[in-house]
Every structure is written in structure tokens, then in C-alpha cells.
């Protein structure tokens, strides 16, 4: 573990962009409700792998861009992502050593925290969730985590991002 920062900034940015685009792909019928929040998951990966680079501030910025791109309340995802990045940065030493399917449970908790925060804020501005389905994307995220982890780890290794 070093505190050095070594290149790859554009790769990280590109992975966030890809995650954002992936969020716009239409899904079949019932799967739509389980659509994982890809951007949050990519954020979790990077702040777990490179906590000295992708921290609370970076999470906040990504969230803010997400709010603009998706046309939400400015700062809603920023707050949720900052908290997710904080949680990851505080616990990465414990999570990183586990196998991906094991990590998925921690990711589930982070994604649940994110969903609850986002929906609290939606509730405050007059869009309370109507049922418990709003937590479903976190389950979808948990199911997809091992795959995402493997892909991003390979990208991470290939470009030797430090």
C-alpha cells in the first residue's frame, strides 16, 4: 500500500461514464426494478481499491454530476455518494481481503444506506416511496458485484492504476 498516485485518472473517469451509460440501458420487464446503481458500485470499487485517491470528496463530485445528468435535486446523490465513499474508506481494509461474493454483503449494506438516503431526501421534497420495492436495486447491485469486481480489477491491473 503506497500513498503515491499513479496515473489512470482518465480510466477512472471513463469507468464512471460507462457506469452512467449502463444505467440507461433498458432492462426486460421485472428486472427493471432490480436495476443496480452502477455508478455507486463503481464508486465503491475505486474507493476500496484506491482510498487515498477516491474518497469522500470524489464521491461527492460524482454524485453531483449524477444529479445533473439525471436531472435530480442538485446534491441528493452527492450526499448519498459522499456517505458511501466514507463508509468504504473506513472499512476497505476489512472488505478488500474477502473474496468477491463475500464482499457483496458489505456492498449490499452500502447500497442500502445509499438508497435510504436518496429516498429520504425524495420524501422530504414530496416524493415519498410508495412501497418497499425502492430497496430492490441494492439487491440487484449485490448480485452483480462479483462480476463488476472482476471486470474492474482487471482494468485496474491492466492499466496499473495506483
Amino acid at each position: 500500500m503506497t500513498d503515491e498516485t499513479r496515473g489512470g485518472g482518465w480510466i477512472i473517469a471513463l469507468s464512471f461514464l460507462a457506469a452512467f451509460l449502463l444505467g440507461g440501458v433498458p432492462l426486460v420487464g421485472g428486472l427493471e426494478r432490480f436495476r443496480p446503481d452502477w455508478v455507486a458500485m463503481v464508486l465503491i470499487y475505486w474507493s476500496m481499491a484506491l482510498p487515498h485517491r477516491i474518497g469522500v470528496g470524489a464521491g461527492w463530485l460524482v454524485g453531483l454530476l449524477m444529479d445533473v445528468g439525471r436531472g435530480g435535486l442538485l446534491g441528493q446523490h452527492a450526499l448519498a455518494f459522499a456517505v458511501v465513499a466514507y463508509l468504504t474508506c473506513q472499512t476497505y481494509r476489512r472488505i478488500r481481503v474477502a473474496p468477491p461474493w463475500h464482499q457483496a454483503f458489505s456492498v449490499l449494506v452500502f447500497l442500502l444506506v445509499e438508497q435510504v438516503l436518496v429516498f429520504w431526501i425524495s420524501g422530504v421534497i414530496g416524493y415519498p416511496p410508495r412501497d418497499w420495492w425502492y430497496l430492490a436495486p441494492a439487491l440487484g447491485g449485490m448480485a452483480c458485484w462479483p462480476l463488476l469486481f472482476v471486470v474492474l480489477r482487471d482494468v485496474h491491473r491492466h492499466f496499473e492504476i495506483g
Partner: protein, 299 residues
Amino acid sequence: MVALKPSRRIQYLFTVNPAAILQLGFWVALSVATMTLDHRYRLLSGLRDVLATAAYPAQYLARLPAEAKGWLNENLAGRGALLEENARLREKQLFLSVQLQKLTALEAENRRLRSLLESAVNKPERVLIAEMLAVDFDLYRHRILLNRGRQHGVYVGQPVLDTSGVAGQIVQAEPFTSMAIFITDVNHGLPIEINRTGVRTLALGTGNFQELKLPHIPNNGDVKVGDTLVTSGLGGRFPRGYPVGAVTGVEFDPGSPFASITARPFARLDRIREVMLLESEVPDIEGTTAAAPAGARPR
């Protein structure tokens, strides 16, 4: 891999960095500040413009797969299918042009009569076609992002129509994109009248694309299943007389003062791809066109 390098300082598994909490506090406070400014005072439109312009390429990219599919469909369709479609469209065109002839005569007559009465003449409206860039990924908010913005003359409060009825209105206009809210969004209310009786009321969104509710009609109101709802023109946002939907359910509950009435919008909001933005000059109570938040409570 990086992890193999020797560490410069010892790291413990369960340490909590107190500086990190302060940092988190700072960013959380900043988000609360931006949300408050954005929601309550709408002070951040400049910042939003800058960021929205920066985000436009990403939004455009997100639409590419759908565009490619449409392009492939058009280009790979068989000759037979194209001929068939051509014939169908020709027939429809003929039918519509006959109807239009009748309509032009009627419109002219209507205008003449109105000018005789010295009442406000309905000005002809201009229409801007916009394509959908993205839907709100939040399943509970019925909003879509359109590929036309202030540069194209889009303004906040502009009515949005589908080919079959009223779809919603613009709530946010950025330089190159704009955000529309559907009439089925839970925070949208649309001033309507029932075409058969002329009863005026509000149609509120339910969060379901197929349903509107009309909660303010008394139990002895004259409403039947199948009644057509049209915009009433009150509130100064939507011009009068555009079709909105049809009543699908009327239930009179003796215990409550109001009937519970549901309607289905004509616009097919869940499968919309292109919409029309109506450029209308509705005589507004406040004097300016579409400046007053009278028709709806956006967000």
C-alpha cells in the same frame, strides 16, 4: 500489484480516522446547502447550466444504442414491409387531409364569430418537436429529459403533448436540454374540464402512468365512465381544449363528501419517444406568458 509493495506506515484494520469524519461532515453540509439552494430558492441555475452542458455528451451517448436500433430497423426493413407501410401512411394522409379541409373552414368560421363577439381570438400555436434523451431513473418521478433547450426556445411551463393528448409540461429549461414532468407525476395537477358537462376540476397524478385521479368532484357530480377530459385553460399554462384522458372509474362513497374518480390519460406516457412542445400564448392572469406557477406544483 500495488499491495505487494512494503508499507511506509503501519495500518490497523479497525482504525477510524477522525479527520475523515470532519471531511464527511463538510461534504454533507455542502450537499444540504446545494439542495436547499436548488429546491427552495432555485439559485443554482447558473451552476446547473454549466454542469448540464458538460453532461450533454454523456446523455447523447446514452441515447446512441436506441438510435442505432432505430436506424437498423429502418435500413434493414424488407421491401414488402416498407411498401405496406407506405400504403398505410398514404391512406392515413388522405384521410387526415380531408379532415383538415373541414377543420380549416371551421377554424376560419370560429375566428370570424369570435371577432364578432370581440372575445379573445385563439392564436394559432407553433409546435416544436423534441425527442426524449432519458427518463428519470427514479421509478417514482415521472420526468423525462428532452433534446431541446432554451437555445431552441423552450421555456419553463411550456405544455408538452403526445400525438394523442396532453403529456405534461416543462419544469426545467437548460441551454440544450430540458426536463418535462408528466401529468401522472404525483406532484402534478392539471386544470381540466369534463367535455360533456363542462364541470371544471383538477386531475392529479398518481405515480402510475395509466392513471389520473379527480378528487374534487362531489358525490352528486355528473360524471360517467367514458367521459372525455380536456384542458380547461385555467391556470394559464395549457391552452383550452386539448384532450387529456377518459374517465375509467367512478365510485360514490356515501361516507365521504367527494366521489373517487379515476381516469386514464390518452397520451401513452410509458412508451413515449417523441413529444411536441406547444408554443402558445395563453392569456395569463399575471400578464406574462407562463411565468406563474399556477397550473402545477413542479417538484
